[in-house]
Symmetry: D2
Subunit: 340 residues, 4 copies
């Protein structure tokens, strides 16, 4: 079986990572890659690791022929454009995995507050949130999957067992989240220059970050009662990786061993979530270039606060790897194919 795959908007970092992973996938052939600004150029002139491996030229978008030639289309466009394109492709009957935020939120007023009016609310209803750890069965049948954000995947996975098991005490949950620089995409902005971000750390979005509603939506969906999420994203000088520390008040006193057991049990059957020993810290290095999320569980000395650390590669489990995991599910394959 071969799945014919296209990527609309293939020149960004998530596009490059999709291609890196798809070339290894035993059941995929890539048929179209599009780029408005690089149409006509070989995709290997943008993602240079492709030289000698993939000979496709970037094309201008032609949704009809893409839909006709493909089984699955990954949409790697900026917010807004992604909604338009994703909706159009969905209506053309092809399976769509959108890597933007455009189909992730369900609540229209929330969407409006953070992103403005949604351009395709009818199609939005058909979208499934592409977190296999939660929606595996729905994803198998989905025609349109909203691939989760990298900060959101990390934070949601760090918090899910607390929410699902109703362990939360009163007070806000804090997520102090560090991201490698590819997390920002291939943007020509001053703060992403090597000479600005190397040997430095800075926080941003201190008045609020778009991933907050995404995280809260998924925590609530599993029974979470977090009144507030204080989310502080920070840029750290490394290529890849999200490293999130979640601080959560507990309803009753617990210890790290119990809590770790609960996490280990919750994720026992998950192929890509690994729960470490109590008080063990995960390391970005251990998950870089993999589709794994590693989670370390600690408790403060009073036993009333959980300290949960989760890490993953923002380009793999935080974007393109998870997108392929979703593709596998949508196409009836074992979800781990091409990802181990």
């Amino acid at each position: 079986m071969m799945i014919k795959v296209s990527i609309v908007g293939a020149t960004g970092y998530t596009g490059g990572e999709l291609l890196r992973l798809l070339l290894r996938h035993p059941h995929v052939s890539v048929v179209h890659v599009t780029s408005e600004t690089s149409a006509g150029k070989p995709i290997s002139s943008i993602h240079k690791f492709l030289k000698g491996q993939l000979d496709l030229l970037c094309e201008k978008v032609d949704l009809e022929s893409i839909a006709k030639d493909s089984d699955v289309v990954f949409v790697g466009l900026p917010h807004g454009a992604a909604a338009q394109t994703g909706a159009a492709l969905y209506k053309l009957g092809v399976k769509v995995i959108d890597l933007s935020a455009d189909f992730r939120l369900e609540d229209l007023p929330t969407i409006k507050a953070w992103y403005g009016e949604h351009p395709a609310p009818d199609v939005l209803k058909k979208a499934v949130y592409g977190l296999p750890e939660r929606y595996r069965e729905k994803i198998r049948k989905a025609k349109l999957v909203a691939n989760p954000g990298c900060y959101a995947t990390t934070s949601i996975l760090a918090g899910l067992p607390l929410m699902a098991k109703h362990l939360l005490g009163k007070g806000p949950i804090i997520v102090d989240a560090k991201s490698g620089i590819t997390g920002a995409g291939r943007k020509l902005e001053n703060m992403y220059l090597y000479s600005e971000s190397n040997e430095s750390i800075q926080a941003y979005a201190l008045k609020g970050h778009r991933h907050q509603p995404e995280i809260l939506q998924e925590w609530k969906a599993v029974g979470g009662t977090a009144s507030e999420l204080i989310f502080v994203p920070q840029l750290v000088p490394m290529q890849r990786g999200i490293f999130a520390v979640l601080y959560a008040p507990l309803k009753k006193k617990t210890n790290a061993e119990e809590l770790q057991k609960l996490y280990a049990h919750y994720y026992a059957k998950e192929p890509f979530v690994t729960v470490l020993a109590p008080y063990e810290s995960p390391e970005v290095k251990a998950v870089a270039y993999t589709n794994y999320c590693q989670i370390g569980v600690s408790v403060d000395p009073s036993g009333m606060y959980a300290i949960v650390i989760a890490t993953l590669d923002n380009l793999v489990k935080g974007a393109s790897g998870q997108a392929i995991q979703n593709m596998n599910l949508m196409c009836g394959l074992d979800e781990t194919v091409g990802l181990r």
Copy 2:
């Protein structure tokens, strides 16, 4: 006026940074540098930037001749050894600035719990905690100064105004603190290898970190009522810099503008503490290689949580720069000499 300075234990990173800064200082001459393992070698063969600048040889420690020849001695030894040496030098009548943790804590049971029995409790009583923002006048008269730790300086400065102004609500304070790799000193351990720490982040000391009592001691001294400090230190792939995010519950609703004003006022006369605009994040890059601490003040949407970010260079304001600031005070100089 020339101050004769010696460094006992000069081959570590703080020793190197002391020398870098002292060579620039208009009123200092360095007379002895000691090292047990490198005795006889030029100090410039250890700190290679000294080639062509400083011609001293490392000597074995001879406390009497050091005390005789020096006005001020910096002690850069490991914990335990520092207490012995610092106490002996103090008794020999020379001014001592100790960069270890050995004279920082006042409470003997706390010391015992974290470090074991203190070898010189009588001398300990004479020590002044070398944070000029708090103890400027005492430092001027001190014979023995305990130079604060880098994590502690950052965290204390981030929290002081909240404590002094009694703004704290109930619940623990969280400090999520990231350190560059020099923060660990020149240790030949696996986790400090380039290939281990580059492109990675990891937390450590998740069961408790020695800087916690130091931070709490100083917050309490100014009236702070923090019941608990959850302190999570993390290694980040950069050379220098501490970047600490403090999350503190507030007694009553406030906003970032008010809180920022309060911070700016509290530190208005401080030569090395800069308070940024509300919601502005400091950047490690802006303080690296300087003696400044930059502080950014934000408040969560509910107005009930302060988010205070502080950053400094662990080798300068977090160690050797602050030590020289203390030396300036102890010797009757303007505290900023050689540090701007």
Copy 3:
């Protein structure tokens, strides 16, 4: 078909990279991993990315049982120890791929000059130099393969077409070679500490480097007449990658287009060597985490000097990836299996 594979000396960086790649290989199962210092510990406690993926414990070496249980053994020991172990395993009849330098050189006096007396000269004669671009057919039949060094692979591939086509003029060839820090292995030495090697470059082995005879041996084997190789290795602050610039005097005036054509033709059928456009520089980034070597060909303005730049990942094509390429050949598989 499943190949049973063991790794003797599995805790170094090449051992880790072997495991990363072998887990992806569709026809391999790993049966033994050994470590003297970590015997009894899970290999995933050393290479943390293995958590949840591979459950083996490190064992002490038992060559007989390893030979009995395995089709192929990778030897990842230090020089000297590798020769002993490799020879013993060879005599036990199992296929051996040695990643050290111990079986790379043919000439006994040269070996003696650089490494001392060879402990198993009889077995040495049976070894095949594991550079598939040169010895593909011999490797298919080999029982013992000496996997080339990372500097050597890069330099040899950069120079081979010049040598084979007899284009060399008089005078030494210069190879200015930069290596990422993993190139040095997992050594607890000062110069490999993050705080020493980050934000720095230094050259080393300025009196001569062990890879010189290896490079010259292979250049001569193809007809190269280089009288001398000036090889200057340098440590550069990155994780992975060799970036070698070769400067070679030419026998007659040429231009970059011709020379590039010649290189492209020479490597036309090679699955893992990519020749770029004339005057195009390769980038480490494009080959990191892959088994590819990219080569860029330029000529100086006079047309009398070739400037050939080659880059590869020292842990993949420069070590473990090439070892697996060799394993594929030795086992009758397509040499690219598991490496694309």
Copy 4:
């Protein structure tokens, strides 16, 4: 004595570094800083380390008032614009130090070939090449100094003794030069993004680099007979630093000890050039944030090739530090003031 200093074009990295160094200088006050794009903003909002240290606003350029208010003006504009501004300021009678390439080359046809027609050839004749190691006396009297490039300073200093002592044999000199990313200035181009340049190396300008004529001009001026310079610049993932390896054929056989002695003697009185022991490699780390150039001298085994390694900080000795060294000379100060 206070020197009134202005900077035209102060928002780039060399502007920032000038300010960092000038603030430490005991005899300088900064009066104007200009920026077309940031006029009206505090300079500390661009160079954030200036917060709390320097309160100037960026101004639009007004050459007359700048000339009137200043003793010395540093010009930090792009090539072309710098020539215009530098010439105008020169004519207004103020001392000018230009950090661009516009006044570095003397030969008009060479200038035309690399940069196009020079806009002010009359003023060009008045310019002195600002390499104190060569032109100290001329600089003392100069009204217009062309501050050398960072690659050029490194390469020239590495080669000068060979040239001045007529040691060169036949054949091209090769300079393999690596630069940290700030060497490129604050340019919003793809290749300078963190995610592009981190964990990578690439060469550029393989058809020829603008610094070649600058280097050759200065080597010739001291009697050098280099027929050709093969110069290969490379970007390396670090903030600051040039690390150049020069390979030069020798007229007669020599050894490293002799050659090192010759270098040491040649630079014996230079305050900012340090010659290391034979076969010792300099390290970028040892010169970063200093105005020093460190040089290591080796010879190949045949004794017929010199291998000279030079390193400096591209923003200090390679730009702003050297500019201040020149300012000191032009103003009758000890040239090391503010730079140790």
